[in-house]
Symmetry: C2
């Protein structure tokens, strides 16, 4: 049973209002303005929960560096600028078709995929 807590709502509000994907630390700092006593633990626990519930996506910005973004209605992938971290989403996931073929070839049941693009945005080029 998942309860509606002030902390959880504050975290979600921050993510909803963000112009870009935020790291756990950034979310922590922003939520702290309204909830000075909130613990980092709470941020992590809620981000895990929200990710499980598919409310947000945990996005890998680079090795061991993740940020969170509100989920679009449909499955999305992201293109992250290596310089300024500006992120845009890619409309269509090209892999659903591909996945079926790989499954047939390998005998694996494919249940998930990661796909992430990296580059430089117009400004940073």
């Amino acid at each position: 049973m998942v309860r509606k807590t002030k902390q959880r709502q504050a975290i979600l509000t921050v993510i909803q209002n963000a112009a870009k994907p935020l790291s756990a630390r950034e979310i922590y700092n922003m939520v702290k303005v309204q909830h000075p006593s909130i613990a980092l633990t709470t941020i992590y626990r809620n981000l895990d929960l929200l990710t499980e519930q598919q409310v947000v996506s945990k996005l890998r910005v680079r090795d061991n560096e993740y940020s969170y973004i509100l989920n679009a209605k449909e499955h999305r992938h992201y293109l992250v600028c290596l310089s300024c971290h500006k992120t845009v989403s890619v409309k269509k996931c090209p892999f659903d078709v591909f996945a079926a073929k790989v499954a047939a070839d390998t005998g694996y049941e494919i249940v998930a995929h990661d796909f992430q693009l990296y580059g430089y945005c117009r400004n940073c080029r």
Copy 2:
């Protein structure tokens, strides 16, 4: 100037003889048999170097969990069993065609991508 050291060669040998991708810790444990005094630091430094040189690929098994695999001649992607970690490679990278379109749509210069499939192998299903 990159030198040929015993440690570096031992690390590479371990990776070459491995039947599956190995984590830094696994490599450390295996190299230690021949080089008991080797430091974990050395493993990490060499894995970074070998990755830069594109001798090996750093493969993300899951969040914050990486393993290393000898590079094939060509660009590859991998399909990892979530249960037993058995890994197979996917022959063709489906992304090259897709990339040009995304670049045109977004104005980004795309320099890298991650693509990883997850599932269950025949045995684990």
